[in-house]
């Protein structure tokens, strides 16, 4: 047709708005309004943090340890809090993932007696909805009892200090548990029954099916659940402030390398931001902004990891399980 010099009639890409009822037009307008407001607010917050963060962030801050000086705004960095964040996240997830996966597997594959399964489900929902400050005070009171002295250190008089990476990590695992549990359960429930039946038909026991077929197939969901849990751990302030002692640097509890770091106190990026902001007494808001910026970058990296994992899972069993 182009050869004839005629143009094809231009078809409208969107239907004409004038054919819509008033109510629908109002709805559309509100959607656009909401969307644009969202862009504006999100943009404002991200820009605010980025500007403040870049303004105050210097590379040596990332690599030097906090200094015990009065003028916090000019000296020292936050290397220890960064390591503290990573350490705490690893501990929390290392405890939460096996617990969450095992509980979800039990719930979906076995699930008897029924009342127990329902109790476990409500229990996990309770934990999901518990404020982190309540988990923190519960953890503090619990880990100051004598039986848990191996988790932190004991003073000369025999009383348990109760604050260490291990205790905070245990509390954090409670926070991350519902995410891992939820994702694993969804993945397992979405798997078609034929998968299990095929495995049984080949002569595998239930335990072997779970171990060799179901859990590996659910791995992308488990990973994304774990990463979601990690995101929650990284951003949590209350548990760290109460259960980690908020010391400037990582203080191991003895001279044994490794284990004593875990039993010692320290800080994380969130407690560092909290202490240096007006809410704490550090009086160094510039460092707080820089640390908050680093925290955001870590969270972005974690979210990116979720994206990658879920995209990789596109060709897995789960996609076939959905209509």
């Amino acid at each position: 047709m182009a050869a004839l010099g005629l143009r094809a009639p231009r078809r409208k890409r969107h239907e004409s708005l004038s054919s819509w009822r008033i109510r629908d037009r109002v709805g559309l307008a509100m959607c656009w309004l909401a969307g644009l407001t969202l862009c504006a607010i999100a943009g404002a917050i991200v820009l605010y943090m980025a500007v403040r963060g870049v303004q105050y962030l210097r590379p040596e801050l990332l690599l030097s340890k906090p200094e015990a000086t009065m003028d916090q705004s000019r000296s020292g960095g936050f290397l220890d809090p960064i390591v503290g964040t990573l350490l705490l996240t690893v501990i929390g997830i290392a405890i939460a993932t096996p617990l969450g996966v095992c509980t979800a597997v039990w719930m979906v594959e076995y699930g008897r007696p029924r009342w127990l399964a329902r109790l476990v489900e409500s229990g996990i929902e309770v934990v999901a909805g518990t404020p982190d400050i309540v988990i923190a005070i519960f953890g503090l009171a619990l880990f100051q009892q004598g039986i848990f002295s191996w988790l932190s250190f004991t003073s000369a008089d025999g009383a348990v200090f109760g604050r260490s990476f291990l205790t905070a990590g245990a509390a954090m695992s409670l926070i991350a548990l519902p995410m891992v549990f939820g994702s694993t359960r969804e993945a397992l429930e979405a798997m078609p029954r034929q998968l299990r039946e095929a495995s049984y038909a080949l002569g595998k026991t239930q335990a072997a099916t779970i171990r060799r077929v179901l859990v590996p197939a659910a791995r992308p969901s488990i990973s994304s659940g774990a990463v979601l849990g990690m995101g929650r751990i990284v951003g949590d302030t209350a548990v760290v402030v109460v259960l980690l002692g908020a010391t400037l640097r990582i203080d191991p509890s003895g001279s044994l390398p490794g284990v004593d770091v875990l039993r010692g106190t320290g800080g994380t990026l969130t407690s560092y931001v909290y202490n240096n902001s007006p809410a704490g007494e550090g009086n160094a808001p510039e460092k707080a902004y820089a640390a908050a910026f680093v925290l955001l970058i870590i969270v972005m990296a974690l979210n990116g990891a979720v994206e990658l994992i879920s995209r990789r899972a596109g060709g897995s069993v789960l996609a076939q399980g959905r209509t």
């Binding site: 015990a68 009065m70 220890d80 003895g254 770091v261 809410a279």
Partner: protein, 274 residues
């Protein structure tokens, strides 16, 4: 999970482990006695510096672990024996656990602050009591005020040592008005006064940036006047021990209270004892 991903995750875990282990370089082979301290967030910066100074002068003797949590937490911790030193920025209360010994280590000035748009030159004790107890409710009734309007009182939460000190030193028998807004830290009080023109509050000497510190009974609130004793609004910092201090704790506290090095450290931002 592909082999590469697995290897990457293993490498990350190993790196974290190595960093965590090698980072605290003071994980020495010989076991040294550890002095543990917890408590007031106002005293903690001073305690950090004193610990560092002590280790510089007497290296290798002890290890320090200084945690924070608030004066009440420090007093309770030392009372229960969880730490060897409790840091407190409030004076001993009758409700504290028995058997505690409060060792004074420094003094700190508390300033009454107003917004920069309201630079009151001087406030007398009577005026401060009238303002904070709510008897006077408008800036127009305060001579020297830079504006008119309702007075917005900013105070601290009940657990605060600064609040305790302010009550005792400035207010005496009067109490802060029930209309006051309670903030949880010095920084938040400073921020509240900075952003509200009608506000008045009190903070530790370090937090008077960007706000106006009023003179108290004619004496300006600064470190020099606090050290010379001219400024009246000065409160005590304590290191609390369970019973009289013994062993390395006693050596440390003696050093803090008597050595010239320690007094020099205290003198940078606080009022030394001598």
């Amino acid at each position: 999970m592909s082999r590469r991903t697995r290897a990457a995750i293993a490498a990350a875990c190993a790196a974290t482990a190595v960093a965590a282990v090698s980072l605290p370089t003071h994980a020495a082979a010989a076991s040294k006695p550890t002095i543990t301290a917890s408590g007031s967030t106002s005293v903690a910066p001073l305690a950090f510096q004193l610990a560092r100074g002590y280790l510089r002068q007497h290296p290798g003797r002890v290890k320090f672990r200084i945690a924070q949590g608030g004066s009440d937490v420090g007093v309770a911790d030392v009372g229960a024996g969880r730490v060897s030193i409790g840091m407190s920025s409030r004076d001993p209360k009758p409700s504290d656990p028995t058997g505690l010994v409060f060792n004074k280590i420094a003094r700190d000035a508390v300033c009454v602050i107003t917004n920069s748009a309201n630079p009151i030159a001087n406030l007398s004790t009577a005026q401060i009591q009238a303002i904070f107890s709510g008897t006077v409710r408008d800036w127009s009734q305060v001579p020297g005020a830079g504006l008119t309007g309702t007075i917005d009182i900013v105070t601290r939460t009940p657990a605060s040592g600064t609040q305790d000190a302010f009550q005792k030193i400035f207010l005496g028998s009067k109490t802060v008005s029930s209309t006051a807004s309670a903030k949880a830290s010095n920084g938040l009080v400073q921020q509240a006064v900075k952003s509200d023109r009608n506000a008045v509050g009190y903070v530790s000497l370090d937090f008077v940036r960007d706000v106006h510190a009023a003179a108290y009974n004619g004496v300006a609130c600064d470190l020099r006047n606090a050290k010379s004793g001219a400024y009246g609004g000065v409160r005590n910092f304590w290191m609390v021990t369970r019973g009289p201090a013994t062993g390395p704790v006693r050596t440390f506290i003696n050093w803090v209270q008597n050595s010239s090095r320690a007094q020099a450290i205290v003198g940078t931002h606080w009022v030394p004892l001598r």
